[in-house]
């Protein structure tokens, strides 16, 4: 069986940044396994600009951002295998994968980094009545068809869901000559960035219908139209508000979920709030020597955050392989990080002070749109910080930084709570 110090599952921005950082931290033997025919992950189909403002102080397109990391990985001569699907990972870190040239093969890994990204919610989860005619696509599938295959899936379009992918596709389809009639959003607010609402919808006069959903799809062979209706506070359609929209295509942009079949198969403890594995301060899952980063851990909206998080996972995996860590997985004192009122989840979910780097970035999301509130951090009963935030929304990830000094200063500390509070 071949052995590598670090095996990385997925060659998107997370996998690439983890590999680069592990190499920079002294690990020679690294292998990236990627099921697609190229590195770069989802960024290859995100041809719009707006990536990398934080990392490179430039507005790059997705493929350009990916290329920066691919070039670094190639320069550092990091080994990778394309068209290779990882099928199974055992808790002892044997990885089983498959491709056309090698067939099915297993590799033993000193440490594993999970970087499989996320996938779109299936339309089955949508609960729309009626037939299932052709012409219904997830927004991401449509994005891949248009931007990589060069194929237009339709001409008259309605989009359900106002997450960023839906907004971006509204503009993209319009530029390709389609007529996008409306974007319907179940919630009273959009899950997408302001910038995308202005530059993808307003610029082209595409209406955004908040508190609306699809209640009917017409057509048996191919979509012929959809019916939108307004919904009440409980997301129930209000009778009498139905409006028909003739169209040949319905795009669904109803959310992303981390791709965690492999993590679950391995028996990693999962976090129901993120659908990703639970991790400690080192971004290590409940399984010894298995780390996670990027969208497989929790869905990110900015790739810059993915790259940063992945670099931390790479550093920590390198430390694990070099045996420079003092505490084993599950061992040592662990402080619980909890999401209190207004906060949906935190990553990580535990902190072991002994293993912490000098500072730790905790990422989280709020559960609603909040204006003029504060983010407060409590060490047990005591509030240790409070930061005013003019506006927070579930669509934009928040972060706070904890320092090792601060935590070591409280030897009795058991729980760190992050919460949204009134001023």
């Amino acid at each position: 069986m071949r052995e590598y110090d670090i095996v990385i599952i997925g060659g998107g921005p997370a996998g690439l940044a983890a590999a680069v950082s592990a190499r920079e931290n002294g690990i020679e033997s690294i292998l990236i396994l990627e099921r697609d025919d190229r590195l770069g992950g989802i960024l290859n189909q995100c041809i719009h600009n707006g990536f990398g403002l934080h990392t490179f102080q430039e507005e790059l397109t997705g493929p350009e951002y990916a290329d920066r990391y691919i070039r670094q990985a190639k320069q550092l001569e990091i080994e990778y295998k394309l068209n290779t699907m990882v099928m199974d990972i055992r808790p002892d870190r044997t990885v089983t994968a498959m491709n056309k040239t090698d067939g099915v093969f297993t590799i033993r890994a000193g440490a594993v980094i999970l970087a499989m990204g996320c996938r779109e919610r299936a339309r089955g989860a949508l609960n729309i009545p009626g037939y299932r005619p052709a012409g219904i696509f997830s927004a991401g599938t449509a994005q891949r068809l248009v931007n990589i295959e060069g194929y237009m899936p339709g001409r008259e379009v309605v989009i359900l869901g106002s997450g960023d992918i839906g907004l971006i596709m509204a503009r993209r389809m319009t530029l390709e000559g389609a007529h996008v009639k409306a974007v319907a959003e179940l919630m009273p607010y959009s899950g997408g960035l302001k910038r995308n609402i202005v530059q993808c919808l307003d610029d082209y006069g595409i209406p955004l219908k908040l508190s609306h959903t699809v209640v009917d799809i017409k057509g048996r062979e191919r979509v012929e139209g959809v019916t939108l209706a307004e919904v009440d506070q409980n997301s129930k359609p209000i009778p009498g508000t139905e409006e028909d929209y003739p169209c040949d295509t319905l795009l669904l942009s109803v959310g992303l979920i981390p791709e965690n079949e492999l993590s679950r198969g391995m028996g990693a403890v999962m976090d129901p709030a993120t659908s990703g594995p639970k991790v400690n301060e080192s971004l290590e899952t409940s399984i010894d020597g298995v780390f996670a980063c990027g969208n497989v851990l929790h869905v990110h909206d900015l790739v810059d955050h993915v790259s940063k998080e992945a670099a931390a996972a790479g550093r920590n995996a390198a430390a694990y392989v070099k045996g420079s860590r003092t505490v084993k997985n599950g061992g040592g004192k662990a402080i619980l990080l909890t999401a209190a009122s207004g906060v949906r989840y935190t990553v990580p979910s535990t902190v072991r002070p002994e293993q912490m780097e000098d500072s730790l970035t905790v990422r989280f999301r709020v559960d609603n749109v909040y204006r003029g509130r504060c983010i407060s951090v409590y060490f047990d009963q005591e509030r240790v910080s409070r930061r005013k935030r003019p506006v927070m929304a579930p669509g934009e990830m928040e972060e706070i930084v904890l320092t090792k000094e601060q935590i070591l200063g409280c030897p009795e500390l058991e729980t760190i709570r992050i919460t949204v509070e009134d001023e």
């Binding site: 025919d37 248009v146 295959e149 202005v198 003019p390 929304a393």
Partner: protein
């Protein structure tokens, strides 16, 4: 007198800004919380520009299309002219990031460059193995 309403995109606050205009002259900007909002509104009302990204057909490459972008932002009203002109452009693989795909697009003085790379297809047709 004319008023224009817009949403500032510079931070998640997303202030609703109202601009009052007399012909092309800005009389007042209200609704913004900070200076960035005013600057944004002034530019949006007098000279709105955008970076345009799209794809262009490729022959003899491992992908059917290559992503492209305008090197700088171009006037907003030129977006469709730009995309239309690019519909008639076809490029031959190999293509490298940064290659000029079309010069002076839609008479804006701005070049359109490749934002992705496409390698040559080993055989002109048929399947490609890694």
């Amino acid at each position: 007198m004319e008023t224009k309403n817009l949403t500032c995109i510079n931070c998640p606050m997303g202030c609703s800004i109202t601009v009052e205009l007399d012909k092309d002259k800005i009389i007042s900007v209200t609704g913004n919380t900070c200076k960035r909002g005013e600057d944004y509104a002034r530019k949006e009302v007098t000279d709105p520009t955008r970076i345009v990204t799209t794809t262009v057909r490729v022959t003899g490459g491992r992908s059917a299309v290559v992503p492209v972008k305008t090197r700088q932002d171009i006037p907003k009203e030129k977006i469709f002219d730009c995309v239309r002109e690019l519909k008639n452009v076809q490029v031959k693989a190999p293509i490298r990031i940064g290659d000029v795909i079309a010069a002076d697009i839609a008479q804006t003085g701005v070049d359109v460059v490749a934002a992705g790379s496409v390698e040559e297809c080993a055989a002109a047709a048929g399947s490609i193995e890694e």
